[in-house]
Subunit: 221 residues, 2 copies
């Protein structure tokens, strides 16, 4: 599975996320027409990610956001109750589609080796597809409990695969928790340091393959 194939199968779009957010927040979003709402939500999220990348969410003023989206201050407040509310929406509501894909992948493949590869790659490919969401969540929501527990969850999936692989004699015994942590660190590297890989001209497929190779050299019997 490479990135191109992955996109065909699982490929949700930013529009899908915005629609999801719109439908999940009927009480805070005062806009009636779904089409305009979804459209503007996309603009808003994109602008937030853009500004927050440069100066952080806290340092972004509503006036910054107004300028970047081309919408007025008043208009913005029809889409969320306030700045805090906007943050919360991004932190919590936007993830349902992404989570769905991750869970789906982690159920495919019986063989531990294939399963490990699939799960690792799926995570990287998703973070490529929705990089701004991943980046923003990491930088602006690191200490939120929900995010920590998500990290815990995906780590446990990896540890589980490593353990069942060991039980089947495919993987070496070892400190699987620690190995799973290292995997997560390397996955995060992809969306945290985009500038580096752009500069080095390293594609997402090359990155993912390298990670899998590195890992198999260490784990396989």
């Amino acid at each position: 599975m490479n990135y191109k194939e992955f996109k065909k199968i699982y490929g949700a779009s930013n529009q899908d996320i915005s629609r999801e957010v719109y439908r999940n927040n009927p009480d805070t979003i005062r806009i009636k027409k779904e089409k305009t709402a979804v459209n503007n939500l996309e603009k808003i999220f994109s602008a937030v990610f853009n500004i927050a990348y440069k100066k952080g969410f806290q340092a972004m003023s509503m006036r910054d956001l107004s300028q970047k989206t081309g919408m007025s201050l008043g208009a913005l407040y029809a889409y969320f109750k306030g700045k805090k509310d906007l943050l919360k929406i991004i932190q919590t509501q936007g993830w349902s589609i992404i989570k769905k894909d991750l869970d789906q992948v982690s159920k495919t493949h019986e063989n531990p080796r294939e399963r490990l590869t699939a799960v690792i790659k799926a995570h990287i490919f998703l973070s490529e597809l929705f990089r701004p969401w991943f980046y923003f969540t990491f930088m602006e929501a690191r200490n939120i409990e929900a995010v920590k527990s998500m990290e815990d969850h995906t780590q446990k999936i990896l540890t589980g695969i490593l353990e069942s692989g060991e039980a089947q004699g495919i993987f070496k015994p070892g400190d699987h928790d620690l190995t799973a942590s290292m995997i997560k660190a390397m996955q995060q590297e992809w969306y945290l340091k985009r500038w580096k890989y752009k500069k080095l001209k390293i594609s997402v497929d090359r990155f993912a393959d390298h990670l899998v190779n590195l890992l198999e050299a260490f784990c396989l019997v």
Copy 2:
């Protein structure tokens, strides 16, 4: 070399950094007595790291800082021109000692294998010793050019070691830039996710050894 030994040889302290900062900023710091200045600078930095860890530097108000340090607003402004200036001081001035240690380590050991281990461990141990500095810089200064070029610099050291190891027939040929990136990602994991390793009761030595083992399984001929 383990953490305990490392500390004995290279162990600078927070006080050393504060003294360095004091001496490097005679025009912005209005305090005459070095002892009180260094003392209070330590308090200030520690408080900044503490508050910024929870809510980020931008969200920290000067009143927060005043309360946490026990110093008044007026007193704080005798130590830096303003909040922006404080950020800049932390981002740029505090690193000279740390850089010195890193450079020193990277010159020891002729043998590539030993050198790789030494450099990797030294970086992790330094980040343990000065975790708040590393964490803060990552979170609050990621897109600063100076920080990017530091990352570039340390990455090139790693790539260089891998290449010379390949030339000597000790390491396998491979994509050394990418491998060096992965190493950096795993090193960063240590100071970015302290809560996780505390919870799993994994020591810095165990973490560092695991990283070295993982890498050698991949690199050694």
